[in-house]
Symmetry: C2
Amino acid sequence: MRISELSRRSGVSVTTIKYYLREGLLPPGRQTAATQAEYDDQHLHRLRLIRALTGVRGLSVSTVREVLDALAEHADDTHRLLGVALGSVRVGEKAGQDAPEAAEVAELVEELDWRVHAAAPARAVLAETLSSLRALGVPLDWRTLLPYARLAERTAVLDLDQLDGLDDPLETAERALLLTVLLEPALMALRRMAQENESARRHLP
Amino acid sequence: MRISELSRRSGVSVTTIKYYLREGLLPPGRQTAATQAEYDDQHLHRLRLIRALTGVRGLSVSTVREVLDALAEHADDTHRLLGVALGSVRVGEKAGQDAPEAAEVAELVEELDWRVHAAAPARAVLAETLSSLRALGVPLDWRTLLPYARLAERTAVLDLDQLDGLDDPLETAERALLLTVLLEPALMALRRMAQENESARRHLP
DNA sequence: AGTGTTGGATACCTCTACTGTCTAACACGG
DNA sequence: CCGTGTTAGACAGTAGAGGTATCCAACACT
């Protein structure tokens, strides 16, 4: 198919598709002539993927590029992918300086007996969160996070279960990415609703 | 204290503080003369709050304003606050059209027996997520989300527990906000680490 | 009186994510 | 083979967000 059909089928404007091509988010089509190129279903799929990551999850174009690159590079190693590709998506976006709370996070990981890379960006996110909340007068230490971590453990089991039974490593890698990244807003939405429900149970007749 | 001291103590530049004043994120100081105003610890606290919401969580300035306004307005009613203030923070940011998956979300809520407002933005987030994932070939229905929802339920209990024993309703409201919003990146970070650990357990020696 | 700091207003800047325009090369019906 | 429409690729332009810089007159401190 040509670019205009790709545009019609994906709902993304031709100019925006060209922009994604320029930015390297979308691989170029197969050139059939000097001013003509062919696109296929892979391009359509990739385009939907890009829109889901930028739209639903709100990732920036450059982050999407990093994630997609990591996906292509480490598709043969699902475990590495979960570390590398997903590590590149900073949960709180953009990096900050490392807080002195890093040691506390290490203590938490130790207590949980988790095998987590020492340089995992998620550690920094936790440290920053602890630091900010304390500066705002909320007394919170790693012990408070422990029960949350136990629930996260069980969430992760659910996540990994959904990758079982897939043969193609590339498909597995992509699904891992989708479940991790796109499910985040959904999980937070569930938490909000659960809070509302719990709050109603406690405070309402 | 004057603006320069506020700047020094908060680590936020004078020009940025002026910008927040202009944008209505920070209430004006007490005027002592035509070109002089006094700021106090409340301003310092508010400034830290703003930086935490924009920095750690990545909220936009306009969203922060909405949240802070809702906080001031409904501080006397913690339950409403959880609905109103937190509802204004779209989990996936910016609104999207409502997907046909809305009915499915309703089914999920029914099955869970949750008391959740029919217009809760979180519902739309769930519907959109289901819709996007399906378009990308991931078979996912509301039954898949059920176990996640059960874990969310328990997370919410932990959240609400931390608001117990606070007397001042305004303090309760603010803490509710902080725990809901600032803990989000932390919970997602825990999930990432738990996934890495679980993946290691399954795939590594 | 002199030096430096404020508040308030306004102009300007940088980055992101697109969008528009242009050109030359095609495709295709008649 | 002519005319109309589409396309690839290059590049300039735009709108919004989130600040930053500059200016000025009015203080404050010494």
